[in-house]
Subunit: 188 residues, 4 copies
Amino acid sequence: MIKVVIAYHSGYGHTRRLADAVREGAASLSIVAVQSLEVDKLDEKGWDALAAADAIVFGAPTYMGGASGAFKTFADATAKVWASLGWKDKVAGGFTCSLQMSGDKFSTLMYLVTLAMQHGMIWVGTGTMPGARAGQPDAVNRLGGWIGVMAQADNLPPEQSPPAGDLESARLYGRRIAEQVRAMRRAQ
Amino acid sequence: MIKVVIAYHSGYGHTRRLADAVREGAASLSIVAVQSLEVDKLDEKGWDALAAADAIVFGAPTYMGGASGAFKTFADATAKVWASLGWKDKVAGGFTCSLQMSGDKFSTLMYLVTLAMQHGMIWVGTGTMPGARAGQPDAVNRLGGWIGVMAQADNLPPEQSPPAGDLESARLYGRRIAEQVRAMRRAQ
Amino acid sequence: MIKVVIAYHSGYGHTRRLADAVREGAASLSIVAVQSLEVDKLDEKGWDALAAADAIVFGAPTYMGGASGAFKTFADATAKVWASLGWKDKVAGGFTCSLQMSGDKFSTLMYLVTLAMQHGMIWVGTGTMPGARAGQPDAVNRLGGWIGVMAQADNLPPEQSPPAGDLESARLYGRRIAEQVRAMRRAQ
Amino acid sequence: MIKVVIAYHSGYGHTRRLADAVREGAASLSIVAVQSLEVDKLDEKGWDALAAADAIVFGAPTYMGGASGAFKTFADATAKVWASLGWKDKVAGGFTCSLQMSGDKFSTLMYLVTLAMQHGMIWVGTGTMPGARAGQPDAVNRLGGWIGVMAQADNLPPEQSPPAGDLESARLYGRRIAEQVRAMRRAQ
């Protein structure tokens, strides 16, 4: 089995909906076992799951221009893994959510890349073309993001927002990550 | 008179519309003289205008994830000004336009900040709150950008896109830049 | 009096040495009152000092590719100030320290700019040319940074590292920030 | 055979030395055919080589805070490839060189990632730990970079600078890229 772990923080549930969609997408390959971990509640078993993962997909809301403090505190704690390059050559990906269409989501995704690169991981982006008309709520990649999934949620309960297009983007991304790992694993 | 120069590149006219709006906003202060310069057609007089400016507002479309090649070629040519810190303490700002809602606009604005900082300039962002609902075409700062103006244009003639909210964002930004320079100039 | 507040986090004391040097530089102007605040120990009085400041200089070590989790947690908490644009038009600056010469310090400084821009602040960088030979420990701006002060500390006690050039860079930066605020304040 | 193409711009020859070292590293695997292309002199055959490549390693000097104008002009021209996602799933990497130790190299590498992600490529970083003491000229990854190779060259002929550690970093990176492609190719 290929092991995909989604390591995320969600403040109000919107980022969790994305995490669930990434999970669904990755799990759509029968050879994949997916696990979601909230990084602000990580125990020893959680760290073990991360160590055993073939791919780690990082997720964080964009707060005040960057990944949330809870996510960053987790990222700092990965320094102990980095010391022995424990995550080297794992596949990495990322997703983020914020209230605005653009709103510094790029800054958060860029940070996730930076973190993954220090760990020696291999970054897989979305690989999707944006929809024909910018911003349409039902379209895949409606905001035009490529490093990872950029989603936008209104000030509504997570059941109502982010919209269908963003959730589908996350689903496709989860599947893409899993497919890439499958291809690489076959090689060994 | 306070001198504001808008130094921009526009490939298809959408970024030019933003440049015009920034100009209009800055010129709404009677003490301000504004000049727009296309950086891919810069002559000696243009460089002199930049040297004499109190503020330079940089503008570039976002192409393939960053400021256009034409803009970057201009930026490289400013190395001769940098050698003597000729633009030190001038006020700087920036704006960008692309087809997508988010679409790496942050990357372009971040580059404009990086350029301005190497020159020792002082960066003034938009200072605007985003609209109450994300993405509304008539709202100021509808995309949620703060470093500079983020605009989005559909594949339509520049007369039709970017929408009113983006142009108004650019107008307000031009005025803010001018007001900041006026405040600083009074000090001397 | 002009009020400069240095809002920083220091894990092992190296970033604190930079904060002290920024403070010394700002305080070298007789009209300036400087206060240093550790953002992981901020009480109501600290928030009041930030609200009353003319300039806020942000400082954070670079951990795992970005500003430390403790700093980011503070940044998230500033959302309540942002809601009313309470820091609009204050001058902002930033500094960071890490073990490596380059080592993602740019990522941290870029984040500090992003935070300041969301708050509508005005960013002042170092405005210094780098030394004639890259990396010389006694040279000002020995690493080539402009957005803010980039310092490098070896795995030594803070009394021994960062080197003299980095501390002098921080001193000059504190003075530059104070001078800029003085110029702007005179204007009003 | 695995095809690795190095697509670079070099202004004064220092970035070319890095390109040569990346090439040497990649070519150290017998199954790899490497080709170097100067992106400011790209002809139809060059574009064909890029289209046929399994991996593309981008290289550019850092000028005025970002990838050189010549490189960015090439990047803009890849929009025609992007329109059909012609480079999707190719492996990507990057390297840069500048006069300073840090000096906005991160900005250039981040741009190269942004470009690669829009193309749907898969990013492989250096995966190397930095040397025990920061900045030592003979050490691999002496500057602390992970997204790609960060090199520093003094104002000396390319034969004398960048130093041995940077060239060895580039060699190891070329080999790592080739090894990753080999692993992925085996899978198919």
